[in-house]
Symmetry: none
Subunit: 415 residues, 2 copies
């Protein structure tokens, strides 16, 4: 059973709103084990909507549309579906009564165009609308089907859960669920990770169709994600299969894995600090508050974060953090900053960054030169070089995550 999504609305094509409906529906289809191979966006144009529907029905068994069910002239999804079905539109008296009742209940005058929301292609049935005004549609076309939903996310989601997914699942006879789990990594590039994971990829390839699949996702700067996807008879079996894959991959990848799914690097650091009942103080220069900002975004950070100092002007590092006079973009200065921060803010652990974000050099050093300082209880504060490259923003972002990673690894080593 293959389903496609056709999102309708000129404002989508103009990039004025982000198409969150398609993304959300795609997630639901994946979780229900229904293949979605194409998603299309088209504007409020009768011929082009009909064309998009015909192309979709030519290669998939089900099409879900969103948008174009309102009362205005631009709302022509019903008309387009009727064209594709080869039938007329008929104004349904029961639906009309319901639409009129909604306006009466809201104490609002109903302009005549609203009656369009009671039109049905002959042969289609309505999906009751429980939040807005326009009902959805289920439109059978031979063995296939087109579901039409309103574009308002809240209304769409309610109808998808209540009416569309059950109907689709019944039609597909599909029992299976498709679930993914993502291992978050830091420090290695995509190809290197693929090399390390190759033995597992080879084993899985040998299992043939339906075996777990592994994909590498490099979106954004948060490190390469290794995503495992399994298909199983139910959610519990899927979870078990994912556990097996996760274990196998962690054995190969070791400490490059810092988290699972949405867990960030700072989340991993927080877990380690909480487990050891340690508090943290941060001293930042070129990262400029990015590290503190990421940490504060975590619920529960108040359990372990004392605070941070952004020592942006160089002399502030000496006066506020007690860094000895001299160059500030050095491993020693990073170590001093970490120590100075934890003393000033009364924390157990200190993390610091110092470096050159660019575009200009600093102290004769090129952009990307940077150090992280880590001060742990019972050991001398250390400074370690970070290898950063790219523009100013990228250097700050990667520098923040790299510094947190240096702390994470040393906390791990504490045992």
């Amino acid at each position: 059973m293959r389903a496609e999504i056709v999102a309708i609305g000129t404002e989508l094509l103009l990039g004025q709103i982000v198409d969150t409906n398609s993304t959300w529906m795609a997630e639901q289809l994946a979780a229900a084990g229904i293949d979605c191979q194409f998603q299309t966006r088209v504007g409020d144009n009768l011929e082009r909507i009909a064309e998009a529907l015909e192309i979709a029905l030519d290669r998939s068994e089900a099409v879900i549309t969103c948008g174009g069910l309102g009362p205005t002239q631009d709302d022509i999804t019903r008309e387009a579906i009727a064209v594709v079905m080869g039938v007329p539109l008929r104004r349904d008296p029961d639906l009309l009564a319901k639409v009129e009742a909604i306006f009466a209940e809201r104490g609002r005058e109903m302009s005549p165009t609203n009656a369009r929301q009671a039109d049905l292609p002959v042969g289609a049935i309505a999906i009751e609308q429980r939040r807005g005004t326009a009902p959805g549609l289920i439109c059978p076309i031979g063995e296939k089907v087109v579901y039409a939903l309103p574009g308002v996310p809240d209304e769409l989601r309610e109808m998808v859960r209540r009416a569309v997914l059950p109907d689709l699942t019944a039609r597909s006879g599909e029992r299976a669920v498709i679930v993914s789990r993502t291992l978050r990594t830091w420090g290695l590039g995509e190809s290197k990770l693929a090399e390390i994971v190759a033995p597992r990829l080879d084993s899985l390839d040998g299992l043939g169709r339906g075996a777990p699949t592994i994909a590498f996702l490099a979106s954004g700067i948060e490190g390469i994600k290794v995503r495992v996807t399994v298909k199983a008879p139910d959610a519990e079996a899927a979870r078990a299969a994912l556990d097996v894959e996760e274990k196998a991959l962690r054995e190969l990848l070791g400490t490059v894995v810092f988290g699972v799914d949405d867990e960030t690097m700072e989340h991993a650091v927080g877990e380690h600090l909480l487990a050891r009942k340690l508090t943290l103080a941060i001293a930042e220069s070129f990262t400029g508050g990015l590290i503190a900002s990421r940490v504060v975004a975590l619920p529960g950070a108040s359990g372990w974060l004392r605070g941070a100092v952004v020592a942006y002007a160089s002399d502030v590092k000496h006066t506020v953090l007690a860094v000895p006079e001299g160059p500030v973009v050095t491993a020693e200065a990073a170590a001093s900053m970490a120590d100075g921060a934890r003393r000033l803010l009364g924390a157990d652990v200190g993390l610091a960054t110092t470096g050159v974000a660019g575009p200009d050099e600093q102290e004769g050093l090129a952009p990307g030169t940077a150090f992280a300082g880590i001060a742990l209880p019972g050991s001398e504060p250390v400074g370690v070089a970070l290898r950063l490259s790219g523009g100013r923003d990228r250097i700050r972002q990667i520098g923040s995550i790299s510094a947190l990673d240096e702390l994470r690894r040393r906390l791990l080593a504490l045992g």
Copy 2:
């Protein structure tokens, strides 16, 4: 000239990431006056990518793809385009040398699969990659063209601005230029802004087709954008027309306008501080480093930012910033924090935030209760209430911009 967007990547079909690239590109096409009638999303499957490209080329003159240009097995956009072009892939020695140089510069070992990023369909040319690794492609197919771009938004946007839009515009033979300028506002909602601007909208309506248009864009949290678009014979005439519109709108909107186009609130604050030769220190609590982080992102911030203290644990506000003992989510505490920060860091001006980000209450106050503290030379430090709502993240983000706005308005008032 009709262009289509084909976004490639199974993670899009599974709804695991939001397709921001298509939305952004659609906005750019609209601003450039290029019709975009269809947008498609397809997975990492050779036949289906080729099918999507063929369908698109059948009805449009240009196709822009994003995704699938990385080094791994899933990255098959180059292969699919070559199939549609009916040509082989050729490994380009110059591109290969560039890819190898990128790895050398980052001090990383290049695994062999990375060489795939140097493959070109015969007849295609590369779009130089200035931020990541994989180059983009311009693939002529008869009179038509396919542009292939990386999926990483930063890399894609850079290539679209530099290489794709100019090429598309040249191909479209569009003589007129369509240019927009955006006025950035803060503090009023869309309807209120529309009311204020209505007199200008009415004048423009009277001018008929081809007159400047005004749109209100409410995406994201950076404030409502008022975007003026003009069509003119050349760039200079367009600029002059935009100047006229900007002046008219600023007369109506006054100080709610803080910047133009990409200028952020912090940029506006920086301009005011620089003009008055003042330095700034920041004290943050619930915003947790977001304000400092935004400021440090500005080139030239070192000209006026001394640093920041994130006083996350409450006692840190008292010990480090000399805030008098007592509740910390008050206007008085905000004023003390601002004063304490500028004294500690040796700055002329202090800006502080204190508040409840949620989800829990603090000092018996609901999430969204917040104050900004502003300490200016020659006047008593003040604390002002901010009206914040939403989830934790939104409260921190809106709180940061609102606090900066309070400082901006007071700097403006200094004359």
